[in-house]
């Protein structure tokens, strides 16, 4: 019964959060702490801190983590599957629909209008990341040097993350 509740909770979280990642946190908090009482608020904050530091989408990490807390490995599989299921179904339907209407001028016009907006959205996202990342002079230097190396010297993004971690350990 608890496992069924877990599955349904994360299905809800997957189906109703737009924008991904951090937009999910308030809903996860409500389901996990208020509705089902699976965790205390303190435990939830600890988990979020770890989720933020581990690679991968925040929603997936949270689902795997909380699923494990509630129902072990089986719980983590159920919660993770539930959180991605709505996205996967909706996206397949949209992709199917768009491939049928790809010659429609309306679809073409809509995307022409949307492209500059998406570029603006990415800039907005980088502004909010930058606000948390550039906390002092050292962090601005790390960011600036890496931007130069990635953009103009073809440094691989994965290598950039590893270098940045090492630089952080050295200078702080």
């Amino acid at each position: 019964m608890e496992l069924l509740n877990l599955f349904l909770s994360f299905l809800k979280i997957g189906a109703f959060t737009f924008g991904g990642g951090y937009a999910m946190i308030p809903l996860i908090e409500k389901e996990v702490i208020e509705v089902h009482g699976w965790l205390t608020a303190k435990e939830f904050i600890d988990i979020l801190a770890v989720v933020e530091m581990t690679p991968g989408p925040v929603a997936i990490n949270s689902a795997t983590f909380l699923g494990y807390k509630v129902g072990g490995v089986l719980g983590s599989i159920l919660a993770t599957t539930a959180v991605v299921l709505p996205s996967v179904i909706i996206i397949i339907l949209i992709a199917h629909f768009l491939s049928k209407f790809k010659n429609s001028p309306y679809v073409d016009w809509a995307f022409k209008g949307i492209r500059p907006v998406v570029l603006g959205l990415i800039v907005s996202a980088s502004i909010s990341v930058a606000k948390n990342a550039f906390i002092d002079f050292k962090s601005v230097i790390i960011g600036g040097v890496l931007f130069y190396l990635i953009s103009f010297k073809k440094l691989h993004p994965i290598l950039a993350i590893i270098l940045a971690g090492a630089a952080g350990v050295l200078v702080y």
Binding site: F16, G19, G20, M24, V50, V51, T54, P55, G56, P57, V58, A59, I60, N61, F65, Y68, K69, V83, V84, P86, S87, V88, I90, I91, I92, H96, S99, P105, W109, A110, F111, G113, I114, R115, P116, V117, V118, G120, L121, S124, S126, V129, A130, A133, F134, I135, S139, I142, G144, L146, F147, I150, P157, I158, A160, I161, G165, A166, V169, Y172
Partner: protein
């Protein structure tokens, strides 16, 4: 081909720290530059779809790319690739590494990694903008979007829908003239 797809998205899932748009430079690197499964325009279209549909942006993007390449099977393969690294790493943490979470070395490494994530996203914007050959009117729309979303806190979904219907209206009007 399935293995290539799985590997590409496994890398995206394994190295994206911070969620959301932090995965964008990695997806761009694998999907647009290395494998050329999508053009720059298609990539932006997928991002728009990922933004207006519920769920994590990385999952939405991998499902879409997978479906486009190999149908439903492809969608499942790419999505599994994206979520498997997180799933395994989190299980490893809860079962054995939880006690190291307050280690100061990890905190220091993250002080360095956060600016790197910002630099990666800036690079993605720079690369996309350079390839798109942006007209003056497009630049105005991009700047207005930043103002609306980053400073006035208007939902990205609203901005996307308004611009989609606005563009349809504009081109329809131009066609009828």
């Amino acid at each position: 081909m399935y293995f290539e797809m799985f590997k590409a998205f496994f890398k995206v899932g394994a190295f994206t720290i911070g969620g959301g748009y932090a995965m964008l430079p990695f997806i761009q690197d694998e999907v647009v530059e290395k494998h050329q499964w999508l053009t720059t325009e298609e990539f932006l279209d997928v991002l728009a779809i990922a933004e207006v549909t519920p769920g994590p942006v990385a999952v939405n993007t991998s499902t879409y790319v997978g479906y486009k390449l190999k149908g439903v099977k492809g969608a499942i393969v790419c999505t599994l690739g994206t979520i498997l690294p997180s799933f395994l790493i989190i299980l490893l943490i809860v079962t054995s590494l939880w006690k190291y979470r307050n280690n100061p070395v990890i905190d220091k490494a993250f002080l360095g990694i956060r600016p790197a994530v910002a630099a990666l996203i800036f690079t993605a914007v720079y690369k996309l903008a350079r390839k798109m050959d942006i007209s003056k009117y497009m630049l105005v729309i991009s700047v207005l979007t930043v103002l609306a979303v980053a400073f006035i806190d208007i939902s990205p979904i609203v901005v996307i829908l308004v611009s989609a219907f606005g563009a349809i209206g504009y081109y329809k009007f131009k066609e009828n003239k």
